[in-house]
């Protein structure tokens, strides 16, 4: 019987905490073991969400180095409405935005991204559904842990995302999805680099 190492244990603890916190603020969390399974899950989701190759039904992926040409082509053949060329216009009408995040904070269920590239922000702000991919290895306990790893002098736009867009401005009633995405789907991948 394989012995569980301490680090695996601590990852499990961090993931449990992350999932609890993120779902508590209405994010959806899916954990998969490999990049291939992550792509499969995303394809399934896009089809379920009726992503199509027509205005208002696209999915837009700010893939920036995450996918190679072959992978892109393969995904596009599975989901014809999927686009990789991020523009303001396409982002404004897209149904789904997809991006990769740099860290996940367990104790608040937060995703953190260096988002200097505007594509990263367009796909995570404008479409009603944002699918965020993040590596299980990037789980950190809390805010101080990530602040110690980021240097604002090196990244001009750091984005922290905790659940979907929300407001309680009318009668203090919590309502999801004002200006940003109404749904945040987090795909946490154990072996994100393995397939490369």
């Amino acid at each position: 019987m394989a012995t569980t190492t301490e680090s695996q244990n601590s990852v499990a603890l961090l993931f449990d905490m992350f999932k609890m916190r993120a779902t508590a603020v209405s994010a959806e969390v899916e954990r998969v073991s490999s990049k291939a399974l992550a792509l499969e899950f995303i394809v399934r989701t896009l089809n379920k969400e009726d992503v199509e190759d027509k205005a208002g039904s696209h999915a837009l992926w700010a893939a920036s180095g995450f996918l190679d040409a072959a992978e892109r082509a393969q995904l596009q053949s599975a989901v014809p409405g999927l686009r990789f060329e991020v523009t303001r216009e396409l982002a404004a009408e897209a149904k789904v935005g997809i991006s990769q995040m740099d860290w996940a904070l367990a104790n608040t269920g937060t995703l953190v991204q260096t988002a200097d590239a505007v594509d990263q922000r367009l796909v995570s702000t404008l479409p009603p559904l944002h699918i965020a991919i993040v590596s299980t290895q990037s789980l950190l306990p809390d805010l101080p842990a990530v602040l110690a790893r980021i240097d604002p002098r090196k990244s001009a736009y750091l984005a922290f995302i905790t659940g979907p867009s929300r407001t309680a401005d009318i009668e203090r009633v919590l309502t999801i999805g004002v200006h940003g995405p109404g749904r945040l789907m987090i795909v946490m991948v154990d072996d994100l680099e393995g397939a490369r």
Partner: protein, 710 residues
């Protein structure tokens, strides 16, 4: 008090949206805030924030320069100015230079402070607020009533009406639909605007970073889609080090909206590329508007520790009744009163400062550790110095200070009301005095004040002595409380003296800003109470206890009577409140409880000064449990009863509904006995329950303890 102001209070009280919605919110807030802070050491976090912000407030100029050079080295343009006009002109010039026709804004209190929208609109620029609450009040032509939830005073029906009137007819009062409507209408505004204006929650000097905290995602759009981003930042947002954003980001969402973290936090440190590949124009305006001056004021410097969470509004017993608009047009509530006095003018705080009942709730929850009630008192003092005290008030103090005359007058008034006295209560008073008995009965003035009854008490000779400071209520209304106190202390082997030279504790003068009078009260009492060498100086009134222990020193210091401070400190060391002294005697085995006390269920009301200044509230609970009584805590046991000393006379319109909530909570606790450690609260609550015909017995802890001790 100005008639218009009084009318604005009455209008707010008559508005059912305010009382209902804000009341429910403030009850829910207490619970959700506590939950959000689970596992977090709030005291440690707020000490950290206070240290960081206080350090920054001590060198605003230096940090502003550091911020400017850091941000500019990364490509931002930083404009520093003291004047609101210069901020408005800068933005307008920039807009003209770039041919800006439409602007989208995310929430910025600094822009509210300088009435930016009006200025830009007058120049023909379309300005769109995008925070939902801000958009609603912009459409309605109103001002924010709350720093975090600007439209909290409106119902969904009103919002639907505003949307129907101003945007598109036929909107229903359905919150998700209204929110969806806002999303749909504002989306093209974001996409078409040439300029985005935001505020910032934190500005980090060493890195030139802006930290922006939002939930709706509008700030992300405002800072991403338009090619120009202008951030208006009050100087108090500056901190030195990047790592120090942690305590602020820990407290701000928890205190503001009971969240562990808001949906979005954006940290912007320099321009980023636009969607067309051009670099964004990033302009950061560091606005002073008297913040620097404030930082040089030894008392008000701490107000710069504010992180604008608005928790002081959420826990305020007055705010939850009247909402924000009674306070003013920009910043509301306790901190708003202070900011208005500075950013506008001291005299503009003249009326609103009187809304503060000095309960201290806000001080307990403030993540910036600002002593808001104390700063409001300081405003009162400065206003009294600037404007002088009204004649009536002066006349009152001259009577209050002469104890014998005071009692004689009260007694005469009471005899005059003889027909109204029934079973020890005055239930109605005629004409102009009627507001005093409208919502609670008043105690009958004692035929013989405690000072005269004291002389008839036979006491054993004891080795230890305590001087009793009676205070007006025990002396003139509840002398029996004083008699019980002597009885209990005698049982512990303490002989009680009642120095005849004692006078008013000075609280009424101090809480009216009349520090000269208060310090003279202090000096007279110090002399009287230190005349004989006693071990303790004991009081059964928390307000008097606080006066003896802390306020004499503060008042003497404030008026520069420093020679008298050593004596004031000597007195302070001897002062102890009654229940705390009994607790000590029980622990030392000098007092013990009777064995045959019939167990009684009781509930306990925390008096404001007793809990939040003296921190003594656990002792009476413990003692009564030791006596075999069963404690049933009421809802909001530490919420003010609405007495607030002379507050109940000045603002009976507010005192009454605050009391009403208290009475409901007392009755719902279902205990036949209510214990309190303050004769002022006893007067208010006993009177309120009597008026309602309630059977619940209200006692000062001293009365119950006298029955329970051997």
């Amino acid at each position: 008090m100005n008639k218009e102001f009084k009318q604005s209070i009455l209008d707010a009280l008559a508005n059912p949206n305010l009382g209902g919605a804000l009341g429910r919110f403030s009850e829910a807030y207490r619970v959700s805030r506590a939950k959000a802070y689970e596992g977090v050491d709030f005291e440690a976090v707020r000490h950290a924030i206070a240290a960081v912000k206080s350090d920054a407030a001590g060198r605003l100029d230096e940090l502003a320069e550091q911020f400017k050079s850091a941000a500019e080295s990364r490509g931002a343009k930083v404009f520093r100015t003291t004047s609101p006009q210069a901020v408005r002109d800068y933005i307008l010039d920039l807009a003209r230079k770039h041919g800006v026709k439409s602007v989208v804004k995310s929430k910025s209190m600094a822009s509210e402070e300088i009435h930016l929208n009006k200025h830009l609109q007058e120049a023909g620029i379309d300005v769109q607020e995008t925070d939902l609450g801000e958009w609603i009040i912009q459409l309605a032509g109103q001002t924010p009533s709350h720093m975090v939830m600007p439209a909290i005073h409106m119902t969904k029906e009103e919002v639907a009406e505003v949307f129907s009137d101003k945007v598109e007819e036929g909107q229903q009062a359905n919150i998700p639909k209204l929110v969806k409507f806002a999303r749909g209408k504002l989306r093209p505004k974001f996409l078409n605007a040439e300029m985005g204006i935001s505020g910032a929650n934190i500005a980090v000097a060493e890195t030139g970073s802006l930290v922006i905290v939002t939930n709706e995602g509008n700030a992300r759009l405002v800072t991403t889609l338009p090619k120009i981003h202008v951030a208006i930042v009050g100087l108090e947002k500056l901190i030195e080090r990047f790592a120090d954003i942690t305590p602020i980001l820990t407290a701000l969402p928890r205190s503001a909206t009971s969240q562990l973290l808001t949906s979005y936090v954006s940290i912007i440190s320099g321009p980023v590329p636009n969607t067309d590949g051009t670099p964004k124009e990033l302009h950061i305006i560091l606005m002073d508007n008297r913040r620097n001056e404030m930082s040089h004021d030894p008392r008000f410097k701490q107000a710069l520790q504010c992180i604008r969470c608005a928790s002081c509004l959420n826990v305020c017993p007055v705010f939850r009744l009247v909402g924000g608009h009674v306070f003013g047009k920009v910043y509301t509530g306790g901190i708003g009163t202070i900011l208005t006095a500075w950013f506008n003018a001291l005299k503009e705080s003249d009326e609103i400062q009187s809304l503060c009942i000095q309960c201290g709730n806000c001080k307990d929850v403030c993540p910036g550790m600002i002593d808001i009630p104390d700063l409001i008192l300081e405003l009162r003092r400065r206003l009294a110095v600037e404007q002088g005290q009204p004649m009536v008030q002066k006349a009152i103090f001259s009577v209050v200070n002469n104890r014998r005359m005071f009692h004689t007058m009260l007694r005469a008034a009471s005899l005059g009301q003889k027909p109204f006295v029934k079973q020890g209560f005055i239930r109605h008073l005629p004409l102009f005095l009627s507001s005093m008995t409208e919502f609670r009965s008043l105690p009958e003035i004692a035929a013989e004040p405690f000072r005269d009854r004291f002389k008839k008490i036979r006491q054993p000779k004891c080795a230890e002595k305590a001087a009793f400071f009676g205070g007006c209520l025990v002396d003139f209304a509840y002398p029996e409380m004083g008699e019980k106190l002597v009885e209990v202390l005698n049982k512990a082997g303490i002989e009680v003296t009642f120095p005849e030279g004692q006078t008013c504790c000075g609280a009424p003068a101090r809480y009216s800003g009349a520090y000269e009078v208060a310090s003279q009260n202090g000096a007279d009492n110090i002399r009287a109470l230190l005349e004989e060498d006693v071990k303790y100086v004991v009081s059964a009134c928390p307000t008097c206890t606080v006066a003896l222990k802390q306020d004499f020193i503060a008042s003497l210091e404030a008026v520069g009577r420093t020679d008298e401070l050593p004596a004031a400190r000597k007195l302070a060391e001897k002062v102890v409140d009654f229940s705390t002294l009994v607790g000590q005697m029980i622990d030392e085995g000098r007092l013990r409880f009777k064995d045959d006390i019939p167990p009684v269920k009781f509930t306990y009301h925390d008096s404001c000064h007793y809990k939040r200044t003296l921190h003594a509230e656990q002792t009476p609970r413990r003692l009564m449990k030791q006596a075999g009584h069963e404690l049933v805590e009421m809802q909001e046991c530490d919420m003010c009863c609405g007495m607030g000393g002379s507050y109940t006379l000045k603002l009976p319109e507010l005192s009454a509904p605050i009391l009403e909530r208290k009475l409901v909570n007392i009755e719902q606790a279902g205990a036949p006995l209510l214990l309190i450690d303050c004769p002022g609260c006893v007067m208010q609550i006993r009177g309120g329950l009597d008026k309602k015909g309630s059977k619940i017995k209200v006692e000062h802890t001293v009365e119950r303890l006298a029955e329970c001790l051997e």
